[in-house]
Symmetry: C2
Subunit: 195 residues, 2 copies
């Protein structure tokens, strides 16, 4: 259609993960036709977030200050440090209401195929953080995928070499599941890790 | 997490159609972690599009000028006017390479349940446009859904009352389909409309 402002918007939307040409067109048309105020608000929110959000010096999650609110919360148990891949994983653990320690957010996971090694996920920063003399146990809560397991394995070795106690989230049957609908790998792990 | 700039971005992304809380979080984290330049570019593109894009005075599609490039294209056959619901539908027809007439874009369809009647889709503007003395045939290419059919029916009546020839896109078996996998309604229409 050779409309540069429209084409530019569709191109910029396509760059989002999971958004193809048709979705980008639909989003652009929707915003222009039905929600120009939403489009302006999104533009301001993007600019604002990119300008103000940086990484917490202690746990690497996104924060506006030098150190995030969770790391500054003195009511948390500083002897426990839980390692997660993303802020979304951290949010899921927080929602579970069953953890009161601190976090370290890798902001990724080891993925040799993508050229992401221990250095890229801040393994050295984690070692320094865990060696503060207060942390007693590091809980590895990376994903139970091939890459998450490789990440957990590499970090566990390095942390144990520094004399730290390292644990991993339990694998097993999800709450509310009927056994017949659970995949066999999960059942096998649940049997091995039975208690 | 109580990070206003991050929460604001997630809220603004959630306002997009088809984006829930988890998708919005994923998009926000992706942009902040991996594509801050893409986020800035999207912010500029949104602002730009909202500021510059308006509706073509002749066909109602999105354009930066008063009249869009398609309507200004003198090589097109001005005797044919194709009515579509959205610019995306117009783009699909253009990609087919089998239409060289002009368009009228309703920017919606009649949907009584949403309070969208003939006035909301610019039916009067379409009547004025089609009565320019040049248009000889109006091709209704609204969707073959309940709302698209209602829209086509209402517009056809009004256009025919003004003495215009009105046609509808053919219904039938999609190219490349095996009959056994085509739904029965489509087969029934293909039989009725056989040629």
């Amino acid at each position: 259609m050779a409309e540069p402002a429209l084409d530019g918007l569709i191109d910029a939307l396509r760059r989002l993960p999971g958004v193809g040409l048709k979705s980008a067109q639909r989003l652009a048309f929707h915003l222009l036709q039905h929600d120009r105020e939403g489009a302006r608000r999104l533009a301001r929110a993007l600019e604002d977030a990119v300008t103000r959000m940086r990484h917490c010096e202690r746990c690497h999650t996104f924060t506006e200050g030098p150190v995030c609110a969770t790391c500054l919360d003195e009511s948390r148990d500083a002897r426990l440090l839980c390692v997660v891949e993303t802020p979304a994983d951290q949010a899921a653990l927080e929602r579970s209401g069953s953890y009161r320690g601190l976090y370290f957010v890798l902001m990724g996971r080891i993925s040799p195929i993508d050229g992401i090694g221990a250095a890229e996920i801040g393994a050295q920063a984690l070692m320094d953080r865990a060696a503060d003399g207060v942390v007693q146990e590091v809980i590895l809560a990376t994903s139970f995928t091939a890459e998450g397991e490789v990440t957990a394995h590499a970090l566990a070795q390095a942390l144990r070499a520094r004399g730290l106690e390292v644990t991993r989230l339990a694998r097993g049957v999800p709450a509310g599941s009927e056994l017949e609908h659970v995949d066999l790998g999960t059942i096998a792990h649940a049997l091995v890790d039975r208690r």
